[in-house]
Amino acid sequence: MSARDRILAKLRATSIPAPPLPDVAAWYDSRRRHESVPERVARLRASLQAAHAELHDTTHAEWPALLRSIAAAKGLRKLLIGTDSPHVEVLEHALDSPLPAHFKPGPQQGLQVVRYEASVDAWRDELFEGIDAGLTHARSAIAQTGTLVLWPDAREPRLLSLVPPVHFVLLDAATIHDDLHAAMVAENWKAGLPANTLLISGPSKTADIQQTLAYGAHGPKELIVLLRHAASGAA
């Protein structure tokens, strides 16, 4: 008999009257606020800012320029991006043109984009030491807790949102859910999850030294959300 069989046999020796399956959906339905997009944006913004993240309103047309101006203001030189995503092409295209006049140029001009093309095994040291910021998109977000939902994949690897000291996230306002349960149901998580699913609710932090909050423990020190509103413009 294997350890597995012995453990299961021990557990099976006890028969337990089965309680009913808890109705999780009913609880969330009864408490859900059914908010409009602007209301969800407001809650997401409040929670993320409380968690020390930055949130900037922008549009599909303007976000590359916004990103460049933030990067310039913060003195970021090397931005790590994924591959084969629409926003990656948009960004690379935009880098070739001058920054629009209404964005203030910062002290650090000329953002260099690095594509996450090779397996991490081939360039670990450079990834850990030589990159200033990473850019990913968020699949969706959760208003209640100020949470970004990321499903990393071959195009946007897992470490893109973890190793660089600054993490830029592209988020579309229309994808914000009320709460975690709503996100799970709307995106049918029970049908199967990708290799890695991430919920991110702020920059990396710790309070392990005398309950004093410090940011940038092991992951990004800064989380910067570029919130893209629908064509009518930024809220």
Partner: protein, 477 residues
């Protein structure tokens, strides 16, 4: 480092407790930390109706999961295997360590990094790996500090809660080459970040715990704030997750209320900075993530609690630490006094199953039964009732119906037995009772002035000059 697996906590519990309450610096550290954590939790649960509903739901999910535990473990195993995660089963701590060592050897691993995991503390993983020549580095800031100091965690959520920043500053200056003394918290964290960053990049194996395992999707759920857990589960070639068999839930949606209860009860956060859901190793075409993911399901005494209808509630625990944060005993003696991996109220009720009652029964007696722990428990474990039950087990006659656990009856002593036998004679025979109470009131002058622990801070107990029955007789006449 030998402190981390002291398996005989009973022997020194009283001595350690006394040392702790006589250490004003430690008293201040713990009091401050407890007040901080209590305040953070309270701020999260301002809506009493919401809290009550959420606790109902959390308790119901945990009870449902335990009722279906064997089926859910099999489902978890088959989903994980289908996803490419290797599943192992370990009945004991030694078996779990042997499995880790096997995996490490076939991966030719020399260096491991570990995210915060109480189960690996429970099984003494670091010692087992060191004995085999493999370095294990703790990467959670608190755990790193504790490891650097050669100590063990004093709290399950905040491992270095017993240390001040000045102590940590001195420790870093002494132990990390090239580091000058600074007690600036940001600077200290950045030092830790720099040191550990290299280690993540160099490690062959990453070790983690599991907060919840989801059976329907074969998913491991980990919560954390620092990002070290993500590093450990993403950067090294091999990821080994180690968990107790009780951590499984059936559905993804069960995570929603449990995560909310966990992080709000533990640290007063809406949600932790990272919730990391791992369902597969690195897929073809992916550029990072571990090539191998292993899950080790550890029993180590949990099935003993499972077999008992009352004690099974112990396994509902989601390891938030709220019970210890609100325990008047824990706040005064601190985590190390318990001598067990899990301190505080949860430690008192889970440790007897992991280590045997013979070495852990004093923990069940170190409680005022005030009930603060069960009042804050997010999954409504009736901790005081379980403590009373463990006290009865510790006093039960071996072989009797009341003795059902490993180590039951361990608290029995010839003197106590004689004392209670005498008490039973006196209180069950009216004549003997009357005679003895008369003798007591006459001989009150002979009462000892020194009455052991009682007179250390109280006046001695002396029988009344006249018995109650004499006073009543006088009133009636």
């Amino acid at each position: 480092m030998s402190k981390a697996i002291s398996i005989q906590p009973a022997a020194d519990f009283e001595r350690r407790s006394r040392a702790a309450v006589n250490d004003p610096a430690q008293q201040k550290n713990f009091r401050g930390a407890m007040d901080f954590l209590q305040g953070k939790r309270r701020a999260q649960f301002s809506d009493a109706a919401e809290l009550a509903g959420l606790r109902d739901l959390g308790e119901a999910i945990r009870r449902f999961s335990l009722a279906h535990l064997p089926r859910l473990l099999e489902q978890l195993e088959s989903r994980c295997c289908a996803n490419g995660i290797h599943v192992h089963w370990a009945e004991t701590a030694a078996a779990a360590n042997a499995i880790v060592l096997d995996i490490a050897r076939s991966a030719q691993a020399r260096r491991m990094v570990k995210g915060k995991s109480m189960v690996t503390e429970e099984i003494g993983l670091n010692h087992a790996m060191q004995a085999a020549g493999i370095d294990v580095l703790e990467s959670d800031m608190g755990e790193y500090i504790v490891q650097l100091a050669g100590e063990s965690p004093s709290h399950i959520i905040m491992p270095a809660i017993h240390k001040t920043r000045q102590q940590i500053a001195a420790l870093f200056a002494e132990k990390i080459p090239g580091v000058a003394y600074t007690d600036n918290v940001d600077a200290l964290i950045q030092i830790g970040r720099r040191v550990l960053r290299r280690k993540f990049a160099e490690a062959d194996v990453g070790i983690s715990g599991v907060n919840f395992a989801v059976a329907e999707t074969g998913t491991l759920c980990l919560v954390e704030n620092e990002g070290n857990g993500r590093m450990c589960t993403t950067v090294p070639r091999v990821h080994i997750a180690i968990t107790g068999i009780e951590k499984v839930v059936e559905r993804v949606e069960h995570l929603a209320p449990l995560l909310s209860l966990l992080t709000r009860s533990a640290t007063g956060q809406d949600i932790s900075t990272y919730v990391n859901l791992i369902s597969r190793p690195r897929q073809p075409g992916e550029k990072d993530g571990p090539h191998e993911v292993h899950l080790i399901l550890v029993d180590n005494g949990r099935s003993q609690a499972y077999a008992d209808a009352q004690l099974r509630a112990t396994l509902q625990c989601i390891r938030c630490g709220a019970c210890m944060n609100h325990c008047p005993v824990y706040a005064r003696i601190g985590g190390h006094a318990y001598g067990t991996t899990y301190p505080g109220p949860i430690g008192a009720i889970i440790s007897p199953h992991l280590l045997g009652l013979e070495s852990t029964y004093p923990l069940a007696f170190a409680s005022t039964l005030c009930g603060a722990c069960s009042e804050v428990c997010p999954v409504r474990i009736p901790i005081p009732e379980l403590l009373v039950r463990l006290r009865n087990e510790a006093m039960a006659r071996p072989g009797s119906a009341q003795a059902s656990l490993r180590g039951s009856g361990a608290a029995r002593s010839p003197m106590l037995r004689a004392l209670w036998a005498g008490w039973s004679v006196v209180y069950s025979r009216l004549g003997v009772y009357r005679l003895s109470s008369w003798l007591m009131s006459r001989g009150r002058a002979l009462s000892p002035v020194e009455q052991g622990a009682w007179t250390r801070c109280r006046t001695p107990l002396t029988p009344a000059p006249r018995r109650l029955r004499d006073l009543l007789k006088e009133r009636r006449s």
